[in-house]
């Protein structure tokens, strides 16, 4: 029944349209504009979470991507100053099914539409995002342009051309674009109802976090376990990292192709491993650890993006429901013998975690810090601290 390929006839904008999603393959989805009046190009991906759109949009791992939300009511709880994972959203734009409504939550400070505008993010609503999900599921994530034109004027061929010309995420290093420019320290802890975020008083350990596009909640989770965190840029060398005399090193999540970061990230991580400083990686950090160990990564057909992803911990047999956002994965067969596969996705069997048998290092592909998503895997941060304890002979 799908009849979306006959898009050529729809280049002329219908009278009511104020926004569109234009795909490189020719398809155009007309809708109403939300957010900033501009256009943006990126890879179109879908996210199936029913809550946490503000966290998702501010997750730096979405750099270079246009997020199509499968849940129809996005904007239902508005936005607030707390639920952000970075100051400036790295995502390029949003595609929504329903209209953005007025917020329905006691913490809401600003409607989503205004918030998108203030962050210069364009979006389109009124689109059958389920149809887009099915399209990505069956044909992979396409390049596309989201355009919000309040005047109803569109140059579709030009936008399509932009989409076609966009090089895609394969081979793209986006970490350098979203990483911090300066080193800074972090002591904010997790959010609690009625209290907001806390502050770490007395640090037990000092952790250096390499920021490839870190979500703030990772830093908060580290602080919660008693770690003072020093955040360094993605391109920090081993010396830059070790200079801070860390008790442990953390490799953050981030956007883009992990292989494209290898020329700077691998030597740095290798240097840390050589000194046997305990190391923990998440998402892109997991992929970089795998690359450092001599493994390979590959682009996935459709990626994992949602808050309902089951992961099995092979060491305990337990299943965690996890939050995920990745389009690349580690090829387990490429890992050396000294790396043990610890977690797998129960959706498609892809690798979700590894552990070094000869060094104090482990990493996971998914997001134990959640935000948004289930907190089932928060224990991994404790595991990291335990590892530091052990390395200190405690």
């Amino acid at each position: 029944m799908t009849n979306l390929k006959t898009a050529g006839a729809t280049d002329a904008a219908p009278r009511w349209a104020t926004a569109a999603l234009v795909l490189a393959d020719g398809a155009v989805f007309w809708g109403k504009g939300v957010g900033a009046a501009r256009h943006a190009v990126g890879e179109v991906c879908f996210n199936t979470s029913m809550t946490g759109y503000q966290e998702i949009i501010t997750d730096p791992s979405y750099a270079g991507q246009i997020i199509s939300f499968t849940f129809p009511h996005i904007g239902n709880v508005g936005t607030n100053p707390e639920d952000i994972e970075s100051i400036n959203p790295a995502a390029r734009g949003v595609v929504l099914r329903g209209d953005i409504t007025e917020p329905a939550n006691w913490r809401a400070a600003k409607p989503l539409d205004d918030w998108l505008k203030s962050h210069n993010l364009p979006g389109v609503c009124g689109v059958d995002t389920r149809a887009i999900t099915r399209r990505i599921r069956d044909g992979g994530a396409p390049s596309g342009v989201v355009v919000n034109a309040p005047d109803g004027k569109f140059d579709i061929p030009k936008l399509r051309h932009i989409a076609e010309e966009w090089p895609g995420l394969d081979g793209m290093d986006l970490a350098v674009e979203v990483t911090t420019k300066q080193t800074y320290s972090w002591n904010e802890t997790k959010w609690a109802l009625g209290k907001g975020y806390g502050k770490l008083d007395k640090a037990k350990y000092h952790v250096v976090a390499v920021d490839y596009g870190a979500k703030r909640n990772i830093l908060r989770c580290l602080a919660n376990t008693g770690c003072k965190v020093t955040v360094v840029p993605a391109t920090a060398t081993a010396d830059d990292i070790l200079r801070h005399k860390p008790d442990g090193v953390f490799l953050s999540n981030g956007p883009g192709d992990p292989a494209a970061t290898a020329h700077y990230s691998v030597p740095a991580v290798q240097g840390v491993l050589d000194k046997r400083v305990p190391l923990f990686g998440i998402c892109l950090g997991h992929q970089i650890l795998a690359l450092t160990l001599g493994g390979k990564t590959r682009k996935m057909e459709r990626g994992h993006r949602g808050a309902n992803q089951p992961v099995k911990d092979l060491t305990t047999g337990k299943v965690e429901i996890t939050s995920q956002n990745h389009g690349f994965c580690v090829v387990p067969e490429s890992l050396p013998k000294s790396a043990e596969v610890t977690h797998v996705s129960l959706f498609d069997g892809t690798n979700e975690g590894l552990r070094c048998t000869d060094k104090p290092a482990f990493s996971v592909q998914y997001h134990p810090e959640a935000s948004p998503g289930p907190t089932d895997s928060h224990y991994l941060f404790d595991r990291f601290v335990d590892m530091i304890d052990k390395s200190k002979g405690k």
């Binding site: 029944m1 799908t2 979306l4 006959t6 898009a7 006839a9 219908p14 009278r15 009511w16 349209a17 989805f29 007309w30 809708g31 199936t48 979470s49 029913m50 809550t51 946490g52 503000q54 499968t70 849940f71 129809p72 009511h73 239902n76 709880v77 607030n80 639920d83 099914r97 409504t101 007025e102 917020p103 329905a104 939550n105 006691w106 009124g126 059958d128 995002t129 389920r130 149809a131 999900t133 099915r134 599921r137 109802l193 009625g194 459709r302 949602g306 808050a307 309902n308 992803q309 089951p310 337990k318 299943v319 429901i321 129960l346 959706f347 959640a370 948004p372 998503g373 289930p374 907190t375």
Partner: protein, 1081 residues
């Protein structure tokens, strides 16, 4: 972890009769559990007294006991079957309470039976308010302030600490029976006392009021390795203070940020862990202060519930099936997600649509009860709807209700447009509050004003406000000329009929214009994963998508098979419940077996019919002409559609027969015209004359004058009712002219199209129900003849009955068969037919004929061992009776059906039976003689049938003579007799030692004092006329609330004496259905 091999046989306890708070959802969960356990190779033993369930079909369990679910009877089954384990979490509160009783008295231990699914300690912790509170405090979760109260003294102390308003919840009652909200001290002490009386352990919890807070529910599943998943979050649109079963609810929760949602998720899982629900599904309820986000835990159910049925249907995740497998040792990652067929069950469903559940009420059947919602559940059914957005979902839900709504229809608010009157109406938690809110917007109230008065979350209000605004625009401008604008209206869920009302044209005219613009719905799949993975399961709902420029994406993918569409019954209501779902499911089973593709359409989330693996394909859709025609056209675009079955789902699909026929859609079986003939009094009368059969004298009136003239011609008393109703809605026996006037003035709106029927009332006649099958060659098979125990004039649905008849002579039975056959032929019935007869003085009168599935079909099937609904479905697709090889059942047993009533939930309502149906469910008693079968039916229905003690007798004059014999028998059995003046005199004159007791109005101590003191075990009370009714009202209510067995008809009293006699001969034996019949059915 593989399944357990140390257990071989498992007893599954069902939920018993359908009552408010426990409906077909437990048939759905029980069926899933039995199937899953059988698939795993366990011997499944089932007990359920409800014959209208699919779970009691003999094929589903190895041994099926249709026996009362009482601790004693279940113990007897355990003794006989010696199962290794009992699964108590599938049969609602009934199963849980029964299992706990057997645990407490040591009988589970004695027979070495293990509780699986939930252990006794966990059940106790979850159900005992105090233990639950302690457990929550231990894990750092807040509960509302509360205290446990057993008496007045404790009640006084509690209120000092908690303050008013306070919520009173009795311990261990289902659906919050006997609870309430107290706003002042008088009310407080009243409700507390009522709650203590209603609680089996004489205990209530007095709780801090969180009225007006937001209410949420989480459906959690946990396995023995502590893997926990949330299946679904549910948000109540109605605020705290209204029982969740009576609230409009949506899934998923729509007004929580992720941070708040995760706190609730973590709390739900922590709750299961602390309570110790090791495996299975549970439901945790929360209240959230809308101003601060403060969250408190309200309660948890350590079992599958109504909400888990809803969550299963809303997401496609089969909670009961999975829970049953987890109970025998599997872990979530070992089980497959059925819907996708490729992913495991250990994940959290995510949905890309909005689900709305709307309760359906029956206050109109209980005059005297105030139509207000509280913490005690009152609704008798519910509809669920699915739309892409809340608005689409809400409007689909409104028209799924089948209460005549086409959307947010206008209602009248008394005193409107005066603002204070409107605000007053908004503040009252009435069943139609969504409509009151829409109307308040029409009267110009603001979101803030409405939110303040109703405590509804403003987000939902703004959505309703927008719909009201759009309606006003459509009303002003007419239907849009532009396709996109029209699609946008449809995307918001407006039905053609509603658009027609707004623009002054028929629904058909709107549909025609819509279709001319190419605007048609598309169908999306419920796939548990928001399309992330391909779904192999055609579980579909309609929505509108697209921009009018090109076709929207449709996922229906109809097949090229030969197919039959079966229309279900919609939301449960009194008169149309599980029996019709049973018939629909059997039609599906039969036609599937015969090789047809079966397609189910229904909107009731509680049912087996809406399980995605019952039929080959499932459309979860409102049963309106518009919605059904659209999906039929998609289905018949490919393959061969034989036709639709509309005769199995009760009145709901039947009403659609005409519009469907007009749309050129083939209807299988008896023609809609024949159905109409049977319903049309005039045409039917001609048929009766032609066949030379007898009817009670009758006439049809379209005005008060006509009604009076007819009544005077045929003589009082008469039975008056509107035509075209099910369940005897507004049916009354009228004794005089004033009564007729009152009825015509107050009870009905009569018009040319809606006349009333006036029948002569046959006093003391025996009523008989017959179900028959007929094929297209006009062969007829009389499947079951049921003799009612209560006399004609009491609605057949409310009357107990016996199959085979226990008093009718063979000659009469033969005559009934002859007449049934004659009518089936004359009406050219193909499929099922039900006839009601009255027998008086050797004459047989035809009361009513319905050429369709009736409420008694499952009872007949279970009592005779013949799958008559399946046979009927085969006949409807063209097979002959001969080819089905049906043999007349000849058992030595007797089956008695008894009705179950919701009177306890409606304070101020009398329990006297009449021509208007008020029962919600039924049980079957099955045994070798009438007395035993009747006794079982009474126990099954929850009556405490005494074998000794005191019988209280107070009957109207015409009944006095008939009462002597049964009361004498009771005296022989050792009963003592007390009676009111006239009755006592009469009994004494006939040699019965009856002690006289005061009527309520005769001064104290009176009969009610005696009853409250526990000095009466059995009540026989019949009354005539309204004065006597009021006089004795209190004594009947007291019997009801104190659970004293009572009978309000002579026939019922007589039957009960036979039951008591049987009981005093010794304990009742139990036997599985399979032992009564050789063949499986």
């Amino acid at each position: 972890m593989p399944k357990r091999t140390d257990i071989k046989s498992i007893l599954v306890i069902g939920a018993g009769p359908i009552v408010i708070g426990q409906a077909c959802e437990f048939d759905y969960s029980g069926v899933q559990a039995c199937k899953a356990l059988k698939d795993e190779g366990y011997r499944v033993i089932l007990v359920n007294s409800n014959p209208a369930t699919i779970m009691t079909d003999p094929g589903l369990a190895d041994a099926t006991y249709v026996e009362p679910i009482t601790p004693d009877m279940v113990a007897r089954i355990i003794e006989k079957e010696r199962p290794d384990a009992v699964l108590p979490t599938m049969g609602g509160q009934t199963a849980l309470n029964t299992a706990m009783a057997l645990h407490r008295d040591g009988r589970l231990k004695k027979f070495k039976v293990e509780l699986i699914g939930a252990n006794a300690e966990a059940i106790d912790k979850a159900e005992d308010r105090l233990l639950f509170r302690e457990a929550m405090t231990k894990i750092g979760l807040e509960c509302p302030k509360s205290e446990v109260v057993h008496n007045r003294e404790e009640a006084i102390n509690a209120i000092e600490h908690i303050g008013l308003p306070a919520i009173i919840r009795p311990s261990f009652t289902l659906g919050g029976t006997g609870g309430g909200i107290a706003y002042n001290r008088d009310e407080y002490f009243d409700i507390v006392q009522g709650g203590i009386d209603a609680s089996p352990v004489g205990e209530v919890l007095v709780e801090e009021s969180v009225l007006g807070w937001k209410e949420y529910e989480m459906e959690v599943v946990r396995d023995r390795r502590d893997n926990c998943i949330i299946i679904c979050s549910i948000e109540n649109v109605d605020p705290m203070g209204i029982h969740t079963g009576d609230s409009v609810t949506v899934a998923p929760a729509l007004t929580l940020t992720d941070k708040e949602y995760q706190i609730m998720r973590d709390a739900s899982i922590a709750c299961l862990r602390e309570i110790g629900v090791d495996t299975g599904g549970s439901n945790v309820q929360f209240a959230v202060d809308p101003a601060s986000g403060r969250m408190v835990v309200i309660e948890m159910n350590p079992r599958v519930s109504r909400s888990s049925a809803l969550a299963s249907k809303a997401t496609g995740f089969p909670i009961a099936k999975v829970a049953a497998r987890l109970a025998v040792g599997y872990t979530l990652d070992e089980l497959l997600n059925d819907i996708t067929g490729t992913t495991p069950a250990s994940f959290e469903p995510t949905i890309d649509y909005v689900v709305t559940k709307m309760p359906r009420f029956a206050f109109e059947k209980f005059p005297g009860a105030e139509a207000l919602l509280t913490t005690s559940m009152k609704s008798v059914g519910e509809a669920m709807s699915i739309g892409r957005t809340f608005q689409e979902s809400l409007q689909k839900a409104l028209r799924s209700m089948e209460t005549g709504l086409t959307g947010l229809n206008e209602i009248e608010i008394a005193g409107a447009p005066d603002k204070s009157a409107v605000v007053g109406a908004l503040a009252r938690p009435t069943p139609d509050r969504v409509l009151v809110i829409a109307q308040a917007f029409r009267h110009g109230l603001s979101v803030e004003e409405i939110a303040h008065a109703s405590k509804y979350e403003p987000w939902f209000l703004r959505q309703i406000e927008q719909l009201v605004k759009i309606e006003a625009e459509v009303r002003a401008k007419g239907l849009p000329k532009d396709a996109k604008e029209f699609i946008d209206l449809k995307k918001k869920g407006f039905s053609d009929e509603r658009l027609g009302e707004l623009t002054g044209q028929s629904a058909a005219a709107v549909a025609k214009k819509r279709r001319a613009m190419g605007i048609r719905p598309v169908f999306k799949r419920i796939d548990t994963c928001a399309a992330e993975f391909a779904s192999r399961t055609p579980y579909l709902y309609s929505c509108y998508e697209g921009d009018g420029l090109r076709p929207a994406e449709c996922e229906a993918e109809p097949t090229d098979r030969r197919k039959v569409i079966i229309l279900g019954g919609g939301p449960n209501r009194i008169g149309q419940g599980i029996e019709f779902d049973y018939c629909c499911v059997h039609a599906v089973y039969a036609l599937r077996e015969a090789g047809y593709e079966t397609i189910m359409v229904n909107c009731n989330p509680e049912t087996v019919s809406t399980d995605y693996d019952t039929a080959d394909r499932l459309y979860f859709e409102p049963l309106t002409a518009e919605d059904v025609i659209e999906l039929v056209e998609v289905e018949r675009s490919k393959g061969e559609l034989l036709g639709l079955i509309v005769q199995f789902g009760g009145q709901t699909p039947l009403k659609l027969a005409k519009p469907l026929e007009a749309a050129g859609i083939p209807i299988l079986g008896t023609s809609p015209d024949a159905i109409d003939l049977a319903e049309d009094r005039e045409r039917f009368q001609q048929l009766i004359h032609r066949l030379k059969l007898r009817q009670p004298d009758n006439g049809t009136a379209t005005s008060q004058e006509q009604a009076i003239a007819i009544a005077e011609r045929i003589g009082y008393p008469v039975v008056i009712r509107p035509s075209y109703v099910l369940g005897g809605r507004a049916m009354q026996i009228v004794y005089d002219r004033e009564g007729t006037e009152r009825y015509m003035r107050d009870a009905v709106k009569v018009s040319g199209a809606n006349p009333v029927l006036v029948d002569s009332y046959l006093r003391d006649a025996i009523e008989v129900d017959v179900d028959a099958l007929a094929d297209q060659n006009q062969n007829v098979f009389v499947a079951g003849i049921m003799e009612h125990i209560e006399e004609a004039g009491i609605h057949s649905g409310d009357s107990a009955c016996s199959l085979p008849p226990y008093s009718l002579p063979a000659k009469i039975i033969a005559e009934i068969e002859r007449q049934t056959e004659a009518m089936a032929k004359a009406l050219q019935v193909v499929g099922l037919m039900n006839v009601q007869f009255a027998v008086k003085g050797g004459d047989v009168y035809v009361l009513e004929v319905n050429p369709r599935a009736s409420r008694t079909v499952p009872f007949v099937a279970k009592a005779t061992g013949q799958p008559i609904a399946k046979f009927a479905a085969r006949l409807m697709v063209g097979e002959s009776l001969k080819s089905l090889h049906i043999k007349k059942a000849k058992g030595k047993h007797i089956a008695v059906k008894e009705a179950v009533f919701p009177f306890a939930r409606f304070p101020g309502v009398d329990v006297i039976l009449g021509p208007e149906m008020r029962s919600t469910g039924e049980v079957m008693g099955l045994d070798v003689d009438f007395g035993r079968a009747f006794a079982k039916s009474q126990l099954g229905a929850g009556s405490k049938v005494p074998v000794d003690g005191v019988v209280f007798v107070s009957v109207k004059d015409p009944d006095k003579a008939a009462m002597v014999k049964p009361v004498k028998r009771l005296v022989e059995l050792g009963f003592k007799v007390v009676a009111t003046g006239g009755t006592a005199d009469h009994l004494r004159r006939h040699g019965i030692e009856a002690q006289r007791v005061n009527k309520v109005l005769e001064g104290r101590p009176h009969i009610v004092d005696l009853m409250k003191d526990g000095k009466v075990q059995l009540v026989f009370n019949t009354v005539d006329g309204s004065a006597a009714l009021t006089d004795s009202f209190t004594l009947r209510r007291t019997a009801l609330m104190h659970k004293i067995a009572y009978y309000t008809t002579v026939a019922g009293a007589k039957a009960s004496v036979e039951g008591i006699a049987a009981l005093s001969e010794g304990a009742l034996d139990v036997a599985p259905l399979q032992s009564y019949f050789k063949t499986a059915f």
